[in-house]
Subunit: 335 residues, 2 copies
DNA sequence: TTGAAAGCGCTAACAA
DNA sequence: TTGTTAGCGCTTTCAA
């Protein structure tokens, strides 16, 4: 690897002169700067950011820790962050936690080791004590999920309210046997969404059945299994809320396999408003999230936190909107 | 920041002893190791990977450069790579190029600066000379797109053959006025796909019209605009191939806006077999890519290249399969 | 089993 | 305007 010493040697200069020339220091003559730059170019010199880090004490690295990059919300955030970082000359280190506290901890540890300046994280809900301690040392913005033990900066969704509205939409259509598939309740989002559903049911004095509720991984396959289970074990349900877009994808496949008419036999309510909801068959009624605004806001928060060490701001809580399409309709009559 | 010197001082040891204890060197007594580890834990010590890099000359970083993280193929690759890296204790640095040669160059430069061990890249098709030179110094695997001037390691799709098959499928259904929306021809994939279409048309001695062909960005909005343009400027087309999944999403929206019956008025052929193709309305006929196998293979190639500096392998070329669903049908009769 | 010294590549303070 | 010296945190000789 070519270093500034090689450049210096080849030019008969001191390596410090080379360093200053490359950094455009004002005490270096224009001629020398030009010679140094040319030689650096010729030799294919690339600065060693490890050495820079040691001298300056600061890297140009931001972390992004998400449970799933294939999730449309998180990939939108990744895009927004990557774009801003590219502009400002930062690097993005991506960590996929798959909701495993150990992997989350390892990612945070590695970010601290590389002296990352900050991190955007969707906490896994069971973050270890070590993770919490480490995050306390690093400016961070929480995405969607919120852990009050961590910092205050966060971009969230009014999940409980949203699921409440979603449930009321189904109740208004005459549904009483409404099933629910969602993320584990240990996630702040999972818990809040479930509460929104439960509260709406209770407020309407509708009898509930624990068997209607299936909580688990946010991957499509879980959605598929959950739907198939519900159809055989609870044949009397007339509506289904799937509170996570990737679970919904699996649920749709399950419904096709089982040849269930939607919304004729079963009304289906989605969450998040992923791009394909609109072109799906049937088009999905869902609670639409302003994904673009949220990503942009999260990125702004991150950079504000970098500029001002003690930057805080009231949590930004976005409200999803009910978008009625074809997948929900009146409850079928009892047989 | 806590360093090994702090630990050494607080324990009355030399910092070298601490270093060896933390690295489980055999010449350190079990008792000392235990004391050191405990103290490190207590003080919240995190190694400085910049300093490690300087000493060892090697980081634990892999790069991933893609044009678009929201693209389902690339997010699948990101996931596969991130999972493997998490297991092996590597970090993934994500760069989104948006098909801009300058951004691509900056990402590669930054990866070299951080002494990344390797990079997986979907080259933007107009990579700068500097990018090529830098990539020559870094083990790399090309994704989907292939630039022969770079290294041989690549995971590709038999694009030309696939589009040929797609076009023949439409020809067999009686279509003669077949339009094509795809990526710019400067991308190896864009060019090959276009050729597959053109060759199939020519082989069938079907008259062609340059106005049927719309090439541009792979974002959904381009697909939407292109479809709307085609519908007004070439009303006689009876079939449409959209050779990129994200363009297809936009195209579907455009077709809905224009209230075009698919496949009644226009047959629609997709490319790639994204998860939502199956649940779309109508379900999309497309050329399915083995995304999972391809991601896994790319990751394997990357790690092989890391282990063996001069590892090469015949390019892995995957063949898409025609999956017939509802969006293609017989050509409508001329009016 | 532990310590002292050197050096990785870079930048900043000080000297010439 | 340029050069000398020192030191960031770490690991690796070599010495005790």
């Amino acid at each position: 690897m070519v270093t500034i010493k090689h450049i210096a040697e080849s030019l008969g200069l001191a390596h410090t002169t080379v360093s200053r020339a490359l950094n455009d220091h004002r005490s270096i003559s224009v001629a020398t700067k030009a010679r140094v730059r040319e030689e650096a170019e010729r030799l294919g010199y690339i600065p060693n950011s490890g050495a820079r880090l040691m001298r300056n004490g600061a890297s140009r690295i931001l972390g992004l820790i998400v449970p799933d990059v294939q999730n449309e919300f998180f990939s939108a955030v990744a895009r927004a962050l990557a774009n801003e970082c590219a502009q400002q000359g930062y690097q993005v280190v991506l960590g996929v936690s798959e909701d495993d506290p150990q992997r989350e901890e390892e990612h945070v540890r590695a970010l601290l080791a590389s002296r990352a300046l900050g991190v955007m994280v969707a906490p896994c809900g069971r973050s270890t004590a070590a993770t919490r301690q480490m995050l306390a040392r690093l400016p961070h913005v929480q995405l969607l999920r919120f852990d009050a033990d961590l910092g205050p900066l966060s971009v969230r969704v009014a999940d409980e309210q949203a699921l409440n509205a979603a449930t009321r939409h189904l109740l208004a259509l005459g549904h009483r046997h409404i099933a629910y598939i969602g993320a584990a309740a240990e996630l702040s989002t999972g818990g809040a969404r479930l509460n929104g559903y439960l509260n709406a049911m209770q407020a309407a004095s509708v009898a509930q059945d624990p068997a209607w509720i299936r909580l688990g991984s946010t991957l499509p396959e879980f959605g598929r299994q959950a739907v198939l289970g519900l159809l055989t074990e609870c044949p009397d349900i007339t509506a289904l809320i799937v509170a996570s877009p990737r679970q919904l994808l699996g649920a749709l496949k399950g419904l096709r396999e089982a040849q269930v008419a939607v919304p004729g036999h079963l009304s289906l309510m989605g969450y998040g408003d992923t791009e394909w909801f609109e072109v799906s068959n049937p088009a999905i009624t869902g609670m639409a999230l302003p994904v673009h605004d949220m990503s942009a806001h999260a990125t702004r928060l991150m950079f504000s936190a970098l500029r001002e060490p003690h930057f805080t701001e009231a949590a930004a809580i976005f409200e999803p909107q009910l978008v009625t399409r074809e997948s929900t309709g009146p409850a079928r009559r009892k047989i």
